[in-house]
Amino acid sequence: MTTARLFSLESWKRWSWSIVRLTLIVGLSFVILYPILQKISTAIKDKKDLYSPIVVWIPETYSWNNFKQAISIMDYWHTLLNTFSLSLLTTVLTAASCALAGYGFARLKFKGSGLLFAGVILTIMVPPTTILIPIYLNLKDFTLMGIIPLLTGKSVNLLNTYWPFILTSITANSLKAGLYIFIFRQFFRGVPKEVEEAAYIDGAGVVQTFLRIMLPNAVPSIVTVTLFSFVWQWNDSFFTTTYLTSSKVLSTQLSSLPYNLAIFLQDGDASQADPFYLSMVQDTGILLAILPLIVLYLFVQRYFVESIERTGIVG
């Protein structure tokens, strides 16, 4: 008798908790998805629907006009290609250099490596704005400690090329690279020492051990770092607007989209254009910019969510 009552109370508790949980998750999911849904709804609206009081979500007249405008003004396909190649380039180089540094810090201890790792932590802590101006001036007259002027007679201006990105990612100092080194270090520290010793006994050198044993095991952390690095580079406007002033990359094109559209519509007179319409096309532009990322995410997300558990982020 009492057990039956207890059982029913228990099951009642469980049911009510599931309902609360469901409400919370559905509600919060809606909060996250709301801006995307809204952008989709805005993007397929016609211009006159914007002012119609009866149109909230579903437009009265559908039109692809916003997409056409955004694509032509952002020079979308060209920009997309640029962004993609830039992100891919920095991602591959960053992942490689950070994996090397992470393994070095985790397993190959040498005199002063602890001190150097404190340097990694320092790069994480310092806001990028603090070092922005010297880096900018440095890249504008790039001398590589006086070597380049010796060879060619003058310094080179690296701004507006991909070189700043390449140089910083080869040397593991690009956007948030300290974090990636940290992730890799935590992961490699978790690999049992016996694995390495067995490899050594079988005659593998340090490099061979790293390439043939450690890296294949590190796939989860590689996936995590690659995804983070790719996405953050894709969306980054901080370094891209500093290093690339005229090259066409999505993040710079997006911020200047309304202005360019106004020029296109009103022959250069930005004050004449309808700000709501500009904003509408910009929303479409944002949608176009994140679309490739969402497609990418749909493919890797399962792997990503599973792998993060084994990355050793948690130390």
């Binding site: 919060l28 996250i32 801006p35 040498f110 802590m125 922005l132 007259d141 996405v231 904003s279 997300q301």
Partner: protein
């Protein structure tokens, strides 16, 4: 005498390779971090004139700092604003993401879909997209429309606030909570990575602990406070640091520093601002790490 490759001991080889592995980073660290970092400090103490021949740096003492703190019209306001904003948001983000991580760890229908939705902000809310979203006019109009239609919504929050006030909860806490509800999107969109980290931490707790506690008759609530919370507490520290660092990317301070540097070309003032900002961040980081790390539970 030359020491041959083979004659080095394994430990020596490892040390040498370790240095080689770290070398690329070290070069980058020196050229793209340490030197700029020190130069920036030097700039902050000087006036800088740029002309066609290059830049002339003349030492000016603390003039730039004094200028930023006492003369500049908006620096103080923006600095306090961005710091207060950070201090307010950080605890909310951490509590919220821990809660969601626990929630997403439970078994229920559609868990994988829910997980992928909750990690979506990792992708969507970074960099330029976040900045543009906050300035979208269409969004603002729609929000207003939703606000007028959702009178019940605001009324509900108001009622809740009144209820809590009546029951003797401190007014600041009530305001804090209701504001948090109002900024739910901001908080959700900033906690993607943190949820990920907490979730990974929760999944590394061995199930035996929960089993044993269940045998002893612990409720889920007790299991959370006695097992989950202590076990993930080191990650609270990690998330704390991450949240603070993450806030660099999206605040007005960064914009102001950039603007001073690149629009008005006052490099000295801009560097001084950046250093004041860095110092205050560092202070907050050290303080919070000190407070939290005392309470963190380590298994060893």
């Amino acid at each position: 005498m030359r020491i041959g490759w083979r004659t080095r001991s394994y430990a020596q080889q490892k040390a040498m390779w370790g240095f080689l592995f770290v070398l690329p980073w070290l070069l980058g660290f020196i050229f793209f971090f340490l030197l700029p970092f020190l130069t920036s400090f030097r700039y902050s103490l000087s006036t800088i004139e740029a002309n066609s021949k290059g830049i002339i740096v003349t030492y000016a003492g603390f003039a730039n700092y004094v200028n930023a703190l006492t003369v500049h019209t908006s620096f103080n306001r923006i600095l306090t604003e961005s710091i207060v904003n950070m201090v307010v948001n950080v605890p909310l983000i951490i509590i919220f993401s821990l809660f969601l991580a626990v929630l997403l760890n439970q078994k229920f229908l559609g868990r994988s879909i829910a997980r992928s939705i909750f990690f979506l902000p990792v992708i969507l809310s970074s960099g330029v997209i976040m900045t543009l979203e906050s300035s979208s006019l269409v969004q603002a109009v729609n929000d207003q429309a939703a606000g007028s239609g959702g009178l019940m919504n605001s009324f509900g929050a108001y009622e809740l606030a009144r209820l809590m006030m009546r029951s003797g909860v401190n007014e600041t806490i009530v305001l804090y909570l209701t504001e948090a509800v109002g900024r739910i999107y901001e908080i959700v969109s900033q906690s993607g990575v943190q949820i990920l980290i907490f979730l990974a931490g929760i999944q590394s707790i061995s199930p035996q602990l929960y089993e044993a506690s269940k045998m002893e008759g612990a409720t889920g609530y007790e299991a959370f406070w006695k097992i989950t919370f202590p076990m993930v507490s080191p990650l609270i520290l990690v998330n704390l640091v991450y949240t603070i660092i993450d806030s660099f990317a999206r605040n007005n301070m960064t914009d102001l520093i950039r603007e001073t540097g690149f629009t008005t070309f006052n490099f000295g003032l801009s560097s001084a601002m950046a250093w004041i900002y860095f110092a205050s961040i560092l202070l907050i980081l050290l303080l919070s790490v000190y407070i939290v790390s005392k309470r963190v539970f380590y298994q060893e």
